[in-house]
């Protein structure tokens, strides 16, 4: 605020002084020039009348001569004064408008509005740095869940895009360099409602400085970053960044899972990705050799993930230096048929086009498919703008880094229990995963599968907490529809974590809830809203348990108590 006022005052110094001087001279002149009153006596105008006259002369020219008609000398002076005052007014107004239109002034205004908006946030919010593909997906999903977000991005274009995105809750956004700590501070890094910082810019250094600034200023606050290199990953992990997403590693693990157990992959996909694939699309894995084109960061991550699974692979890369330590390697881009033939495309089961050039990747897939139509194809999409082409490329998997990071982060933000469940899922066999996917499918059909956590504590589930003091509550009652207790909500519990850290997958409906239990549910998001009634409202829970809906006023309770004891 100070900056703004000071800038304004500084720029208006000259016009204000001009205005004061011109007024002073005009008033002074009016008092010096002799006039004549009605009787023809010499008369001098006093300061009061002179000031009154000049004031209305400067602003409005249509006026009379007060208090007596002017002499010619007075009229001459008034003529000069009119031009002087009008010009100085125009100068002053013009200068004011010029200051208002200055880019610096606009920047300060926006910064001021942004800071005030952030300061007045009274709900918990996430600070999102970087509004690219990942950032925009994350922000949209946060807003859909009713969680506030604050956005900082270095490019004005992306901030404009945010304004055009029509989010239902206003999102304060600022175009500034997020690696500067004072910008982060304006964006609410030290705000007590800030519950997490997401560093999602495409620059590792910027992400690193955001993570460091956040960890230094507020050590307990959650920090989630994306990274592109292992050095940065190690660096970020060294000072306790809560979650570091490396899109290449994440996707490599995902592909390894796809090759190993397709149903687990499907369960994973349904929980992580809002747009899940149909049950029939489950990838039928044929054991065999894979071809990986491009041995950069993505290729390396894939090769190590595949090697860990004991899968056979051939690698194609244009640089012989990269391939030196490898046994099955072919030098070339992979876009030409002969390179692919050298790599044995006819006998391979799948091909992954993982170079950093979208056109090359598509060309690799099309050439390979001509040579061997049965290939499973995986293509890496580098630029979000190419989405249209990739969605029509008929590839089995399209890997888009921005979306992968967004899904990972959202799963983490929804509830840490989801990450725990996915970890447990890895230890189950594929048949178990198949049953799970069938169950999910029967509950939600083609709609989006949402997941949410419930903690049985006095603050988060007051009704259950009160009820537990009187009688036991089993899990099945939470699953009932609070409007009609003989119907079930479209959801089911995935995981139960008790106070002594025991974890049960798919807990049975006869489990008796204890204070401190944490539950993970999945189902339609409509069920989530309904369930909030039963865990928060004592009367609703009472109805679910007993089927009665008695009045629950103080008087009614006293009477009932009296009747029961009688």
């Amino acid at each position: 605020m100070n900056n703004l006022a000071f800038l304004f005052m500084r720029r208006l110094r000259a016009p204000l002084i001009t205005l004061i001087t011109v007024y002073a001279i005009s008033v002074f002149g009016m008092t010096l020039i002799p006039g004549r009153d009605a009787d023809g006596n010499v008369w001098y105008m006093d300061f009061f009348h002179a000031f009154y006259f000049v004031s209305y002369m400067g602003t409005t020219i249509g006026f009379g001569e007060v208090p007596y008609e002017f002499t010619d000398a007075q009229r001459m002076w008034v003529t000069v004064s009119i031009y002087a005052t009008v010009i100085s007014w125009l100068y002053g107004i013009g200068q004011t408008l010029a200051v208002l239109q200055e880019p610096m002034f606009g920047r300060l205004m926006r910064l001021r509005g942004f800071t005030a908006h952030v300061r007045n946030l009274h709900q918990p919010f996430y600070l999102v740095c970087g509004y690219g593909v990942t950032g925009s997906i994350v922000v949209r999903r946060l807003i859909d869940r009713g969680i506030r977000a604050v956005v900082v991005d270095v490019e004005q274009e992306r901030i404009d895009a945010l304004e055009l995105d029509n989010l239902v809750i206003p999102v304060p956004a600022l175009c500034a360099d997020a690696s500067l700590p004072d910008i982060l501070d304006h964006a609410g890094l030290q705000h007590k409602q800030c519950i997490g910082v997401l560093a999602l810019t495409n620059n590792d250094n910027v992400n690193l400085s955001i993570a460091i600034a956040s960890k230094l200023l507020a050590p307990k606050r959650q920090v989630i970053t994306r990274t592109n290199s292992e050095v940065t990953t190690a660096n970020m992990a060294s000072f306790g960044t809560d979650m570091i997403v490396d899109p290449f590693r994440a996707y490599a693990d995902y592909m390894a899972l796809a090759a190993r157990s397709p149903h687990k992959l499907l369960a994973y996909d349904w929980l992580m990705n809002p747009r899940h694939r149909a049950l029939s699309s489950v990838y039928k894995h044929a054991p065999g050799r894979w071809i990986i084109c491009g041995y950069g960061r993505f290729g390396r991550a894939l090769a190590s993930a595949f090697a860990a699974e004991g899968m056979e692979m051939t690698i194609i890369d244009p640089s012989p230096g990269n391939l030196a330590p490898l046994r099955n390697a072919v030098v070339g881009v992979g876009t030409e048929a002969h390179t692919l033939r050298d790599a044995g495309v006819e006998s391979a089961v799948g091909i992954i086009a993982g170079t950093d050039n979208d056109a090359d990747n598509l060309s690799i897939i099309m050439t390979a498919r001509e040579l061997n139509p049965k290939l499973t194809t995986v293509v890496r999409q580098n630029l979000h703008q190419n989405a249209l082409i990739f969605s029509h490329s008929r590839c089995d998997f399209v890997m888009e880094p921005g979306r992968i990071i967004a899904n990972r982060i959202l799963a983490q933000l929804k509830t840490p229990l989801l990450a725990l469940f996915l970890e447990q899922l890895q230890q189950q066999d594929d048949v178990w995963a198949h049953t799970l996917v069938n169950r999910m499918s029967s509950v939600v059909g083609d709609s989006e599968l949402d997941s949410w956590a419930i903690q049985v504590t006095p603050a988060t589930a007051p009704a259950v907490n009160t009820m537990l003091a009187q009688r036991s509550v089993t899990l099945r009652y939470l699953n009932k529809n609070p409007r009609q207790r003989d119907r079930m909500l479209p959801c089911f519990p995935l995981l139960l974590k008790t106070t002594n850290n025991e974890v049960h997958l798919l807990p049975g409906e006869l489990h008796e809830l204890q204070i401190g239990d944490e539950l993970l549910f999945c189902g339609l998001s409509m069920a989530k809203r309904q369930m909030e009634w039963s865990i928060n409202n004592y009367n609703v829970l009472h109805y679910l348990l007993t089927g009665e809906d008695p009045p629950d006023t103080l008087l009614a309770r006293l009477l009932r108590h009296h009747r029961e004891s009688a």
Partner: protein, 127 residues
């Protein structure tokens, strides 16, 4: 020599001298106090205020405050003068004149502080 500083100091000192000159004389004797001097003091004081705009230092803020006080006092004094000359049925009485001069005297104190601050600021610069 900084031309801007010369202008700045000139106006601040001029504001004090004009103001002092107006106050000098018997408190309630209209003959001792010149209306043109009051007018000049008010105009110079206003210009001083504008010159002090936009200085972000602590001293700058104090200077601006003293200037605003001087403006306020002088405007009230001028208001009393106008009231006495034009509106009051009795015309300019010694009582009204005394009010005018005492308000202007208050402004003189504020202007005096302004000059002291100017001297302090100059003394602080070791070049």
């Amino acid at each position: 020599m900084n031309r801007e500083k010369v202008i700045f100091a000139f106006f601040i000192v001029l504001a004090l001298t004009l103001n002092f000159g107006f106050v000098l004389g018997d408190l309630d004797n209209a003959d001792h106090h010149d209306v043109f001097e009051l007018f000049a003091a008010l105009v110079v004081s206003l210009i001083c205020t504008v010159l002090k705009f936009g200085d972000r230092t602590h001293l700058g803020a104090l200077m601006l405050a003293t200037s605003l006080v001087a403006d306020l006092q002088l405007i009230i004094a001028a208001g009393f003068w106008g009231f006495g000359e034009q509106i009051a049925a009795t015309g300019m009485t010694p009582r009204i004149m005394a009010s005018v001069v005492s308000f202007a005297a208050g402004a003189a104190v504020a202007n005096c502080i302004s000059v002291i601050l100017l001297v302090v600021e100059t003394a602080l610069i070791r070049r």
